[in-house]
């Protein structure tokens, strides 16, 4: 098992455990700190879904919540000192460790391709196979330019997962790279560059998780609507 995979699964489990714990002890009275936090997250995601998704689908909001929190946790690993976890792993004889799952293309593309599959699944389910095929073949230039329509559609649908996956990967990989470059400086000067970059990254990791979630909602929303 590759190390990003290990961290990815661990962080996913952390998310599930945390929210399950909150859900199990949920009360309709005054919420405790954990439940309060989870409610804020659910509220936030739910607002986003309500704003951009107008169909009826019980999967969208939980999916969006999972993506947001999971990607956020992936990205948050970026704030851990770059050499800390590899050094600890080195003690146990693991000499190659990448701790940020979103700096691994497999993680980001795994998620974006899953989103694409969901888009197809709901497109066909909501519109029906015939209608969906018609849309693929006749949109946007009408039935006389079928091949072009098909080509355009293929490009469009390829662009979705690639842009989703590469955006997340690119941002986090670049961030991690900068951290690694900063780590090459003498140790007593590192914080002058490392600290602003880390502070800036608090914004980046949240923003990237948010963008991934919103785009997922938008793509799935498009799958539910006629062009």
């Amino acid at each position: 098992m590759s190390t990003p995979c290990f961290f990815s699964i661990s962080l996913g489990a952390l998310f599930l455990w945390l929210f399950m714990k909150a859900a199990k002890s949920a009360t309709s009275g005054v919420p405790g700190p954990l439940q309060n936090f989870c409610e804020i997250m659910v509220d936030f995601v739910d607002t986003q879904v309500k704003d951009s998704f107008h169909g009826r689908n019980p999967v969208i909001a939980p999916l969006a919540l999972t993506i947001f929190v999971w990607v956020f946790l992936w990205n948050a690993m970026d704030l851990v000192p770059v050499d800390l976890l590899p050094s600890i792993a080195g003690l146990f004889g693991i000499h190659y460790l990448r701790s940020v799952p979103s700096t691994d293309l497999n993680s980001t593309f795994g998620m974006s391709i899953s989103v694409l599959l969901l888009v197809y699944y709901y497109s066909i389910k909501v519109k029906g196979p015939v209608h969906f095929a018609m849309e693929v073949l006749t949109h946007p230039f009408g039935k006389w330019l079928m091949p072009f329509n098909l080509l355009l559609r293929i490009v469009e649908d390829l662009a979705k997962p690639i842009s989703l996956g590469l955006r997340l990967f690119g941002n986090l990989y670049a961030g991690e790279l900068i951290f690694i470059l900063i780590a090459l400086l003498p140790w007593w000067i590192q914080f002058t560059l490392g600290w602003p970059w880390a502070v800036f990254h608090i914004l980046v990791i949240t923003l990237q998780a948010f963008i991934f979630m919103v785009l997922t909602i938008v793509y799935l929303s498009m799958a539910h609507e006629d062009h």
Binding site: D83, A183, L184, W187, Q190, W195, A198
Partner: protein, 156 residues
Amino acid sequence: MNFNATLIGQMITFGLLVLFTMKYVWPPIIQAMQDRQKRIADGLASAERGVHEQELAQAKAAQMLKEAKQQAADIVAQANKRANEIIEQSKLDARVEGSRQLAAAQAEIEQEVNRAREQLRGQVVNLAVAGAGKILKREVDEAANAAMLDDLVAQL
């Protein structure tokens, strides 16, 4: 990869980041969470209060209803009593009036009887006088006998 000075530098950076987070990132989030918690608590409390107030109002309404019913019952009872009184009173009045009219009738009857008796008396006197006149077949001094006859009439 082995431990080296780079790691120390990274740890310093991380420590500064944690400090920054503690000072500028954490408090607003905690504040928001506490506000939300407080809002929920307040909302629940006011809901509770509302329920309580409603219960009170209901109890009050029930109390008022009961009082009104009691009052209505009192009024009805009073009215009944008054009605009975009036009936009794009119019965009494009727009885009094009846006996009064009875007495008047009796008095009239008595009067009539007396008058008839007087008339009868007069006629008896005439009859007696006529009878006596026929028996005697002679002139009688009416004036001399009148006193005697009156005496006779009084005895009848």
